[in-house]
């Protein structure tokens, strides 16, 4: 490598495609993710967000294209070294076995020589799950389990020197609004400490609030990408979600997406009005 060469992207995707049978799940997807940024991955259900994350995590083998982590082909990474600098949060990771929350988080240490109690305590406190430590994972609520799983993912890379990569597939889908803010403000904070984060999200305003950049996906392709305020436009929302929405810029400096009432919603209301049943809606 030339000494003058510019810094490498943390994650670089080139012409990525994956085809299963006749169906193309991803096609010619090219993008870079840099250390120090939080990238929101947006797109409707079935757009290929999870498929992309599973490809980047090495779970699925792409049929074409290249993935590089820190300038090195994903396939060329030794498993153990990769596990120390890259954490993955899948959409679901449940278990019916009697693990306590603390034991689940400690699984994040994986093959590392020893578990570090201090790291474990700190991460659990940051995600506000320390009071659940000795409870069985199966007795926790969906939101609590999701934060415990996220703590496991963070513990895995917490003590590794930067850069570190996090691939998060809807890591806040079961959380209440306050907990969503807690998690994303933690993620935003981590980007400053040498993390690069790719987070698939459905909540447009959460992405608008915290993501540095957005990747917009539809039908297995990257439709647009760029700085959040440049990409989160009514035209793009119409294009990828078929969603009518206004986008306002708040005094805080980030955009706010306000969807309009959909015409088919009006249809439902009209039908309900015609209904003879006088009972009040519950």
């Amino acid at each position: 490598m030339m000494p003058q060469s510019p810094p490498l992207p943390l994650l670089s995707i080139r012409e990525l495609g994956i085809t299963v049978g006749q169906r193309s799940l991803l096609s010619s997807l090219t993008a870079d993710l840099w250390c120090g940024e939080l990238v929101g991955l947006l797109g409707p259900n079935g757009a290929g967000k999870s498929t992309l994350i599973r490809c980047l995590a090495g779970e699925l083998s792409p049929t074409s294209g290249d993935i590089e982590v820190q300038g090195r082909a994903l396939k060329a990474w030794p498993r153990k070294a990769l596990a120390q600098c890259r954490g993955v949060m899948p959409q679901k990771a449940e278990t019916s076995f009697p693990f306590t929350a603390r034991e689940v988080v400690a699984l994040g240490f994986g093959q590392q020589a020893r578990s570090r109690q201090a790291t474990l305590d700190k991460v659990m406190a940051r995600l506000q799950v320390e009071h659940l430590a000795d409870r069985l994972i199966g007795t926790l609520s969906g939101g609590e389990q999701q934060r415990v799983q996220l703590a496991r993912v963070l513990v895995q890379v917490w003590d590794t020197p930067p850069p570190r990569l996090l691939l998060l597939d809807e890591c806040t889908s079961a959380l209440d609004p306050a907990q969503q803010q807690l998690v994303f403000s933690l993620l935003a904070e981590l980007t400053a400490e040498g993390y690069g984060i790719l987070a698939a999200v459905h909540d447009l305003n959460l992405a608008a609030q915290y993501a540095d950049r957005l990747w917009l996906m539809a039908e297995g392709q990257l439709c647009d990408h760029g700085y959040t305020k440049d990409v989160l436009t009514p035209a793009n929302l119409q294009k990828i979600y078929q969603l009518d929405a206004r986008v306002m810029t708040l005094a805080e400096g980030y955009p706010l997406v306000v969807p309009s009432r959909q015409p088919n919603g009006g249809h439902t209301v009209a039908r309900l009005k015609g209904d003879a049943d006088p009972r009040p809606a519950v």
Binding site: R54, A57, G58, E59, R79, K80, L82, A83, Q84, R86, G87, V88, P90, K92, A93, E94, T95, S96, F97, P98, F99, T100, E103, V104, L107, G108, G110, Q111, D134, R135, L136, T139, Q156
Partner: protein
């Protein structure tokens, strides 16, 4: 266990647990050695084992040629069956995956029966080639083949369908049962006796040469299993998570299947079909010590040994001077336990 779900879980500390299990093991071993058609006193045992003391020759013979090999085989088989159960349950991510239920034991059984009946005719090449290892090796191969089959049938796109797994087990058990029946039909009188012993499971004919043939394989499975403890912990969260944590998913899968088949095959070759040890023991150990395999595997090994030795002693006492086959005793214990497990899971 009626535990408040919001309370911190209570567990038995690992060192205390191991000590208790060792004490139980000693107790079960002593009781097992003393009971039977010819009761032995503790003094007989001490005398027989202590070279400088004059011992009653009959007591010494009973102890050395009958009770001790039986005890050791019971310990090894119980340990390896329980550990195999724990391995398969971790691999399939399901606490109901028992080597007997998914057909591994039946597969190992069919292969062993084939060697017993056809060893001098159709399979003479096999017996000539493998010698004294013919039976355990065949049982091992039958067991691995069935585990692999069950795996392929129940596993799709990173998910294991438990319903499919158990249904496949029914089919595999039926097919292996039919094969065993066919061989029974062809068997002569001497072979029939071996077969009956086989299908009900028994430690009654344990000899030192059985231990010499099957013991090393069982020990190998027991010694290697703890190497899989950490990756199996990760497996409980799903294969993808194990991969993300840096484990080689395929390698772990193959190793767990091979070790479980090795254990079940080797134990089955000399004790016949003994079910439910692999289901009951790991389940109880998880309740006491949690799901982590670093404690679960050694605890299951100890408790499996205790259970089988105790069941064997019971089998000798209940209808003395005759003996119940131990497989029957385990089925009497394990069947209701399994039903209870199903009912409890249904209510949760």
């Amino acid at each position: 266990m009626a535990v408040d779900s919001s309370a911190a879980v209570r567990r038995v500390p690992a060192p205390l647990g191991i000590l208790l299990l060792l004490a139980l093991l000693l107790l079960a071993g002593a009781v097992s050695v003393m009971t039977g058609a010819y009761p032995l006193q503790l003094s007989d045992i001490v005398a027989s084992l202590w070279p400088r003391v004059e011992a009653d020759p009959l007591a010494q013979m009973v102890l050395q040629d009958v009770r001790l090999p039986r005890l050791i085989l019971g310990l090894l088989a119980g340990a390896v069956l329980a550990v195999s159960g724990a391995l398969l349950q971790g691999l399939f991510r399901n606490p109901l995956a028992d080597p007997g239920l998914i057909g591994v034991s039946a597969g190992a059984g069919l292969a062993a029966v084939a060697v017993i009946v056809l060893g001098s005719t159709v399979l003479s090449g096999w017996t000539a080639f493998t010698g004294r290892w013919a039976l355990p090796l065949a049982a091992f191969m039958g067991g691995s083949l069935v585990t692999f089959l069950a795996w392929r049938i129940a596993h799709r796109q990173g998910q294991t369908s438990v319903a499919t797994l158990l249904l496949a087990g029914i089919a595999i058990n039926a097919i292996a049962g039919a094969g065993t029946g066919l061989l029974t039909f062809m068997a002569d009188d001497a072979q029939l006796r071996s077969l009956t012993f086989w299908s009900m499971g028994s430690l009654a004919q344990a000899t030192w040469s059985d231990i010499a043939v099957a013991g090393p394989w069982m020990l190998l499975a027991l010694v290697l299993a703890p190497l899989l403890a950490r990756p199996l912990d990760a497996f409980l969260l799903g294969e993808p998570v194990a991969g993300h944590l840096g484990y080689s998913v395929d390698w772990v899968k193959r190793a767990a299947i091979l070790l479980a088949a090795l254990g079940v095959g080797a134990a089955g070759a000399v004790t016949g079909l003994i079910g439910f040890v692999g289901l009951v023991v790991p389940h109880v150990m998880r309740q006491l010590f949690g799901a982590g395999h670093r404690m679960l595997l050694p605890a299951s090994a100890l408790a499996g040994g205790v259970l089988l030795v105790a069941a064997d002693a019971a089998a000798r006492v209940v209808v003395a001077p005759a003996e119940l086959p131990i497989g029957l005793v385990m089925a009497l214990v394990g069947g209701p336990f399994f039903l209870g497990l199903l009912l409890r899971n249904r209510m949760v």
